[in-house]
């Protein structure tokens, strides 16, 4: 176990508390940089989606994880970013300009959503953000002069400084990775400055934050704006990756996926956004795999236990019919969320910390170490 001896106030501020972090993240970055030369094109494509989901995850963490304002409207912010890019592209606006414009516009709309949300907390805020998402979805479908309605919009190949960057090229992956890394570094910077601490203060006690001089309304709006702007940036990348966007891609289902990203990853640390993104992107091919192979496997097991060929075929057909039921994916997502909330509220990153601590303290690890303590009831009347 490592003991940190802090000798300077700088030790409390720096991003990497000790050399171990530099090595770990250095190796990770090196692996990510050589990935295009090693992994198959399918896995590279999945990795790009991991980056995009992780960017949205970080954005959602700022708002939900650190400021405590739940949102089920992030698919709408993603859509606004994506459509801004697709629209501006028609007028031959260069990539850096429409990339920034998409972030800026989404940020402004995020702030506008933040204002009515100031008086709402908890479940009411969730409902408000859902309504916002539904409104945006409807606008995208109806405002045909700009969005081409349900026909959708084609997104041209990204061109960066005159060089074409196809959506499955390593350069596009590097671009997504760079945006992700910059987002994470920016967010970490924010979290170690007064603004980030004000966010956390609002999450834990608005009354106390106010009496310490935090303008709660202003910081909530700031949090909404920052979160939306980052999601807007992700939207541009998303549009380019898909090369075609239409309103039915940005449904409530997508917002729920983003919530799953941070719930499963862990809401208390940025690691959670990345782990959750890996989880959500990888679970889809895994479920497809199960759907294709599971009936055969179960029939095989039945056959080894002496079932006749006819019975085995019957079982296979029934399992296959069950696996291709409509809405099964949503149900599986739902079950996963419930299980995580019940048994691992700290998410995958929390689980990783526990495993790490187990080996650091071996054999002294106590199960109660991570138990959440809430003994003293805070006064609700001053809210």
């Amino acid at each position: 176990m490592r003991f940190l001896f802090k000798t300077d106030y700088e030790d409390d501020i720096k991003l990497f508390p000790h050399s171990g972090y530099v090595v770990t993240y250095g190796v990770l970055l090196a692996l990510l940089l050589i990935a295009p030369h090693v992994l198959s094109s399918y896995l590279m494509s999945q990795l790009v989606f991991v980056c995009i989901y992780a960017i949205v995850g970080v954005a959602l963490l700022i708002l939900t994880g650190f400021t405590g304002q739940a949102s089920l409207g992030h698919a709408a912010f993603l859509a606004i970013g994506a459509y801004t890019a697709a629209y501006l592209q028609k007028y031959n606006v260069p990539f850096p300009v429409y990339f920034l414009a998409a972030g800026l516009l989404t940020g402004i709309i995020g702030a506008m959503v933040g204002f009515p949300a100031l008086r709402l907390t908890g479940i009411y805020l969730v409902i408000a953000t859902i309504s916002f998402a539904l409104i945006v979805e409807e606008i995208l479908a109806r405002w045909e002069s700009v969005t081409h309605g349900n026909e959708g919009m084609r997104v041209k190949t990204l061109s960066l400084l005159g060089v074409a960057v196809p959506r499955d090229s390593p350069t596009f992956y590097y671009l997504c990775l760079a945006v992700l890394v910059l987002t994470i570094v920016g967010t970490l910077n924010l979290l170690r400055s007064p603004t980030g601490r004000a966010f956390v203060a609002i999450r834990d006690s608005e009354t106390a934050a106010r009496s310490m001089g935090v303008n709660v309304a202003l910081y909530k709006v700031k949090s909404f704006a920052i979160s939306a702007a980052i999601t807007g940036f992700a939207g541009v990348l998303f549009a380019h990756k898909l090369s075609f966007i239409s309103p039915e891609m940005f449904t409530l289902q997508l917002s729920i996926e983003f919530i799953i990203v941070i719930l499963i990853g862990g809401t208390f640390s940025l690691h959670g956004a990345v782990l959750g993104a890996i989880f959500i992107v990888m679970i889809d091919p895994f479920l497809t795999y199960l759907k294709d192979d599971m009936p055969g496997i179960i029939a095989g097991i039945a056959a080894t236990f002496g079932a006749g060929a006819a019975t085995a075929g019957n079982i296979e057909a029934k399992v296959a019919a069950f696996a291709s039921l409509n809405g099964l994916k949503g149900a599986i997502y739902g079950i996963i969320i419930v299980l995580f909330v019940l048994f691992e509220p700290l998410g995958l990153y929390g689980r990783w910390l526990k495993i790490k601590l187990f080996f650091q303290l071996f054999p002294l690890y106590k199960r109660a170490t991570f138990k959440r303590q809430k003994i003293y009831v805070k006064s609700e009347r001053n809210r």
Partner: protein, 252 residues
Amino acid sequence: MSYFRAENLSLHFGGLKAVDAVSFAVEKGEILSIIGPNGAGKSSIFNLISRIYRPTSGRIFFEDQDITEQPPYDIAKLGIARTFQNIELFENATVLSNLLVGRHRHSTTQLWQELLFLPSVRANEKVHRRRVEQVIEFLDLEPYRDKLISGLPYGVRKVIELARALCSEPKLILLDEPSSGLNVEETGDMSFWIRDMRTELGITVLMVEHDMSLVNRVSDRVIALNYGRVLAMGSPAEVQQHPDVVAAYLGA
């Protein structure tokens, strides 16, 4: 003119008069205690001063400035800090970041500077950190710097709340029952700290307290309230012998 002044302060919830035409003044460098039975309106007065409640009528002045209409977050900026009766700390943050929130009123950096963590932000952070360290030293909180609030015992939380208020370098501090839930030894420490706050840091103290031994040890003056009205005002001994106060506590 007095340093801090409340004039005819009233707070009515429908027909209930939680605070009823209370007037008092606090002199600079004074320790003034407000006592009274449960429900007398003591904490309500604090919530009026820190603008959690809007007074039904009456005015509040601080350093000759009318602060009755100031938004709540500006009260801290003027130099009035407070603690809460039922501890309001940021549960899922470390002690250090709790105390750094106390420095919020002194932060001058802009959002874009913070995103890039420019040298100016870094320099400011170090100044904040040094101030926080002074408070940590003042209140003997060294063992807890990196601990999460949610794992700390009540007595320590109480001190951390005081520390957070001190981190904002207030001119006037409002302590809402600083000794509630503390044992005799911790209450003793608290009384030393309250006096040191005045003598070493030059902070004016207004506190609500039930523990009469603490009130007697630290207060210059005492105000007794009952049913939202002032019963008596004066030195601790005078107030305790006042017939109305005795009647309020013991029944007539």
